[in-house]
Symmetry: C2
Amino acid sequence: MDETTPKVLAFDVFGTVVDWHGSIAAEIADRFPDVDAAEFARAWRAGYQPAMASVAQSGEWVRLDDLHLQILRNVLSDFQLSVDEAEAAELNLVWHRLRPWPDSVEAIARLRTRFTVVPLSNGNISLLSDMAKNAGIGWDAVLSAEIVRRYKPDPATYRSVGEIFGVPDSEVMMVAAHHDDLDGAAAAGLRTAYIERPNEYGEDRPKDVSGRAEHPLHFADIAALARHLLAH
Amino acid sequence: MDETTPKVLAFDVFGTVVDWHGSIAAEIADRFPDVDAAEFARAWRAGYQPAMASVAQSGEWVRLDDLHLQILRNVLSDFQLSVDEAEAAELNLVWHRLRPWPDSVEAIARLRTRFTVVPLSNGNISLLSDMAKNAGIGWDAVLSAEIVRRYKPDPATYRSVGEIFGVPDSEVMMVAAHHDDLDGAAAAGLRTAYIERPNEYGEDRPKDVSGRAEHPLHFADIAALARHLLAH
């Protein structure tokens, strides 16, 4: 397989394109000066995998905005913060306002000159479209787990990209800062590219961004991916 | 209902945002100088409503690209043109390359400063995203009948907009150059705005763009809609 000729690039978003930790920590620090904002952000995100698993098990679709709100209520309670329903709903939209990593917007724009470039996120469509508008990210379309009502790593989610664009799965490249996302994509027949985002969980909590043999395309950031793909 | 405060604008695309007739006639004239290109374009489009109706009746989803190809084969035969499979497939993509009306791109960009603006077309997602890229149209997301696998005027298609964006149907405005599309939207609880496109079927075949009482918001073009909505 020639890794230089995918037709469609499908991007994971949280952590890969946008800095969820820094964005949420900044907003929490503004609103609640007395809490450990970095820990609050990590606690909120920590509820994500269990929520996904629970939706997958139940077979009942719940969009990510609603899961985020459920998790938020628990985290607020754990941090002994009391906010009313309207404020919780407004705070929950911080996920629609996440800031991009410094290289993301420009590198995605460059990639769009050669490829069809879309998000493939568990975030719902309105979350992803608000985020794109706030951050100035241009996508060719907004794909989401919401379209197939199956969260990654369900193979149906990964395969929706090729189905929608009428290309074989082998011409779709999943781009993510998480090896498990890439594992799911590879199992569904997609190509993969890993993006290092060592500070995804905060500068005080650097994560292991070592390469793995099963995902040999490995880049420091999206700008480096763009240089690689556009050089051929 | 205050017509000045929708949250989401959902645009019909073929005829409303892009000039399907002029775009297709130009490409047909280039490829087949001996046929009546304007008639060819109208014949291709004339197959659309029967194809929609047949999909609705069968309950079996077929995306618009595939319907367009089936219709194209019949039209080529009617015009006694013989083209191979590869050329037919390539010609079928003319729908991905339709040119916008002169006011569309800029007016949609202006509307996006205040509203969430999306297409709501029977065109499939890849058709709409290729079209947006070719034409330079910026959308906040690409909605399509393909997401709900129901063609307009099925109420589920119109209602998908409010569901996806988490707003009541009454805060969604359908914008179209076709009264029957607006009828379907209104029946599903959406607001409506009519756009005149008198030359949708060609300058030699001007269509009736008279107002109808049930759709009192009536504009010469999308630029006029933008002036109206942004003035309040």
